[in-house]
Symmetry: C2
Subunit: 468 residues, 2 copies
Amino acid sequence: MPDVVSVPDPDTSLERFLEATKDARLDSYKALLRIPSISGIPAHAADCRAAAEFVAADLRTAGMEHVEVSETGGHPVVYADWLHATGKPTVLVYCHYDVQPADPVDLWDSPPFVPVVKEGLMLARGSSDCKCHVSMHARAIEALIKTRGSLPVNLRVVIEGEEEASSVHLDGWLAANRDRLKADFAVISDTSFFEGNLPAITVALRGLVYFQLDVTGSDVDLHSGVYGGAVDNPANALCQIVAALKGPDGRVSVPGFYDDVAPLTALDKQAFASLPFDEEAYTESLGVPALFGEPGFTTLERLGARPTLDVDGIWGGFEGEGPKTIIPAHAHAKISCRLVANQDSERIFQLVADYIAKVAPKTVRYTIQRLGDGNPSLTAIDNPATQAAARAIEATFGAAPLYIREGGSVPVCASFESILGLTTVLLGFAPADGRFHAPNEWMWMSNYETGIRAIARYWDEVSKLSTR
Amino acid sequence: MPDVVSVPDPDTSLERFLEATKDARLDSYKALLRIPSISGIPAHAADCRAAAEFVAADLRTAGMEHVEVSETGGHPVVYADWLHATGKPTVLVYCHYDVQPADPVDLWDSPPFVPVVKEGLMLARGSSDCKCHVSMHARAIEALIKTRGSLPVNLRVVIEGEEEASSVHLDGWLAANRDRLKADFAVISDTSFFEGNLPAITVALRGLVYFQLDVTGSDVDLHSGVYGGAVDNPANALCQIVAALKGPDGRVSVPGFYDDVAPLTALDKQAFASLPFDEEAYTESLGVPALFGEPGFTTLERLGARPTLDVDGIWGGFEGEGPKTIIPAHAHAKISCRLVANQDSERIFQLVADYIAKVAPKTVRYTIQRLGDGNPSLTAIDNPATQAAARAIEATFGAAPLYIREGGSVPVCASFESILGLTTVLLGFAPADGRFHAPNEWMWMSNYETGIRAIARYWDEVSKLSTR
């Protein structure tokens, strides 16, 4: 991967401060990574709270005011603000301190919650998704306040603790705190640069529908010889249902699934085609025999502008070594759909559920548990706040950013739009191939360092914009 | 369930002996059940050996000679003989001391390896499959030798330790010990009475093909948002393959799968139709919404005379609580086929493997691990050794046995025929619904007790047959 060229910052006092505090910064980032704040596993609730307390203390140290660990009914939100830049825009900054589960833990080269820097990479669960951004924002704020005594803009910071668990309590918290979340726009830091570490601003995010399908047959596992042939098998039935949801060509078979998908314009297609992308290298890096997806679209279009349906987990019956001859009593699958503008997560869930009702064999029973969802999001490239971010990135990373659509979901984006009425700018510095959610998650330390400069520069750029 | 009527044994000294040793017999049966001799789990190898040593000592106590714990390369075989009935038939008796895994252990009402008798039932893993028969044969031998000083026939006893792990080493052991296994016929005790505890002799057993299908995609789990749409999902691909193996009507879709199946004659169909069977009660006892199987056959025909294809276990990706958004790196299924006469396990495996090669998407990789197999078996009802068993059962249980085809597999049956050239009689006393392989496995203590009398009577009946 090419190294990013760092353009010297004109604010030399800020740069001197950042030089002088480099070691402390690394220690603080590592300390946050050491907390196993896995929001999806109830046993880690205390760790999530510990991470929230850590972030709150850190923002206080950085110079933020009204710092609060605010209850949500689930893992808490950390709120803080600094509102003394009279006449300047107010920005709502969003990040999350929670992380994905670390399993399978035995595939990690080093323990997931023991951060280590190796050849310029920070290795740890959450290093790129998304504790790097939590740390970078705090450090940019700290550097500005410590060197100038003030920020160039008004900031309200919201650090969430349930992003990896579908942000189940965030919408309620946003609605309840609407008054103190007024801003000109929102900055969400939970995105990546483009493949090859090319600076990029994400202009679209996919939404999510996530559910668990539980299929049951007999009350107990049955001997497959004594009963085989007389009753349906819940695991076979589950496979039959899952296979019915998507055709062998990769197109989702649920009727109506694609109805609301915003079609790609000629300009959209051109933007996708202009992104540098080595399909062969990408295939090799993933270790798959071939790429695969919906016919009629390029790989980048499939990732950015087309919805998906994937099994995230499947289980039932005997998983041990050797043969055990049973008809399992039950079988289960976790299934998720990534959505794109203008699909609605509620409508898509209903379409999928209705189709399952149609294709599920009547010789088994099933239930569906919803495990969260979020709507997709799209922001205009020519939005002034997006263009200010582009200038800050070019000034610090030495290259104008690409405008990309990202396949992942940050449901809060849609919530900020619908509940708070805010446009969002997606300003993130993670590597495109950072193994988020997988073993050996990593972050480029050079992006971490230059990104702090980019954020500080961004607030200077935003201070030149008019308030709304 | 109706109680079995016990007909008084004319050999009153034998009956007196059995009355006097009832408590000791129960203790010994329980002691064998306490050994977790799970042959399919390598960690239980020492337990399997302990069970073999226990059985050897027990047969020695019963009066058997040349008792030996004989090495096989896997779990040992216990061999013993008694050959002083000059001019009388020699019978090779087969049982197995190994058991299925006990998981899911939390679904047992009492610990699987802590045997308890409750309302006339012995509850424990292996109580009916098949330690009851190991114990019953030893007790019948013991009663005859202790009361008469001899057996009415010559017996060679072979107690195997890998029946639940596809008897992988048995064929080699049988071939190597061919000389000391000479007999007039074999008796295999690993079968059940009919539903409602109606005395029955099994005349057919199904064969088995068992394999594991491992599907792999990327080297690591991938973020389903970042990569979803660009690559195939091994769990979806696995479901697609499994769904392709069997049609929604329950008929196996593998070309050629049914080619060698012996068609049912009018007489066969009449024998099936004459078996008492309450389909509604059967459905209710299993807790399934409906029965389900291959079109054109009754439930009993599907179970006894038709082959199957079932998923025994399936797994891949995230199984924990809550949502984790990944494309799993790999997904797996254990798949088994029950075979009927005259299917050949080797040929069926090849047909299935060839079909998987045809239907598996090229966008994933897969491998197949064979986990054992066995050929089906069929024995004539009018065989003199079968008719002698029928007389012994009627004399002790008070009812002539039904002749049934059983859905389960005892691959050794085919091995005895092909390697040793022996006809086999299937003499078993387990309950039809004994939850073999499932939690809360159980055995009727009344069948255990009366079955010991039936076995002793059987040796008297066999002593009247001519040798071959």
